[in-house]
Symmetry: C2
Subunit: 188 residues, 2 copies
């Protein structure tokens, strides 16, 4: 089943970050792990999946980077994803999607515009409806980084979509994506 993840992140929008200390650039490490969890099976990429990361850190926010299942020749490691983010940040210029390479595109679209353009939106939130009680058709799942969604963005997303929950515990964003992918696979 086709599926999209949208991750709200506070990571840097400068391409001049160091690949050696991703953690210190607004948790770029977390962003990279979310891309891995969204797109990779063991040794292969999910053809039917995409993840858009909305970067909202300085100096040039917002930047949206879209990874999809047509990516190829990429190692499943934090650093190789970070390298793609770096390439994309160098090319961020306006609100259209610009292709960087197969499976990778960049835009200056803000988070709310990404949501506005999505259908079948589900917002991961501990207070939402249990995910297993839900039916999904080409869904878009929205989640935040380690600090969660800012309240304005959360409200906006909930006007467009519905809150769903994995339970009472608050999980790592990358673990949330792994679990959602597995639940959708099981029900496919």
């Amino acid at each position: 089943m086709g599926r999209t993840f949208i991750l709200y992140s506070r990571a840097t929008t400068s391409p001049n970050f160091s690949l050696q200390s991703l953690y210190s650039y607004g948790r770029l490490d977390l962003v990279c792990r979310c891309v891995l969890s969204a797109l990779w099976l063991s040794e292969k990429i999910r053809q039917d999946t995409q993840i858009i990361v909305s970067l909202n850190g300085g100096p040039n926010p917002p930047v949206a980077i879209r990874f999809d299942g047509t990516l190829s020749n990429v190692e499943p490691s934090e650093q190789s994803i970070a390298f793609l983010i770096k390439k994309a940040l160098f090319k961020a210029k306006d609100g259209d999607w610009h292709s960087i390479q197969k499976g990778l595109a960049v835009s200056k679209k803000p988070f709310q515009e990404l949501i506005r353009e999505s259908r079948n939106v589900f917002v991961l939130d501990p207070s939402g409806k249990q995910i297993e009680a839900q039916h999904f058709e080409s869904p878009t799942f929205v989640l935040g980084d380690n600090k969660g969604l800012p309240s304005g963005e959360l409200k906006f997303a909930l006007r467009k979509g519905e809150a769903i929950s994995l339970g009472k515990k608050v999980y790592l964003a990358s673990s949330v994506i792994s679990v959602v992918n597995w639940i959708l696979d099981k029900n496919a």
Copy 2:
């Protein structure tokens, strides 16, 4: 519910690896992500969980490193886990567990001995029984790195335990751990 993960890995057993290119040391990056998936919730550590990584790469195999929920002051990033692995590898000397710091211990125990010392062993394998049909009590989950368990180790583990499966797809080891943790939380 208390739970243990045992990861079989082909990663290096030399402490002289570079924190900047974990991927190239037998997939140490993957080992670090498995530790994160096993122990971390969003911004906090699971008290009731441990993960033992069995490193079987050169030059000094095997080395077992045990991380548990009493770890503290560790960032949830690949590199901070890799730094702990490096510290542990410097201290690997014999078949007993030696504490390195709170929540971190090292031993030269081989994989099969780790299995022999475990109870309620479940081996993640696509051909196993569906995980949701299973009842767990203080379980130990055994899984392999990107190349899976070597056939001799798999057979050994299956003599001691039972094969369970997340379905037909083969997932990243770190995603497997995230899903297993979530299923156990749900049934707790």
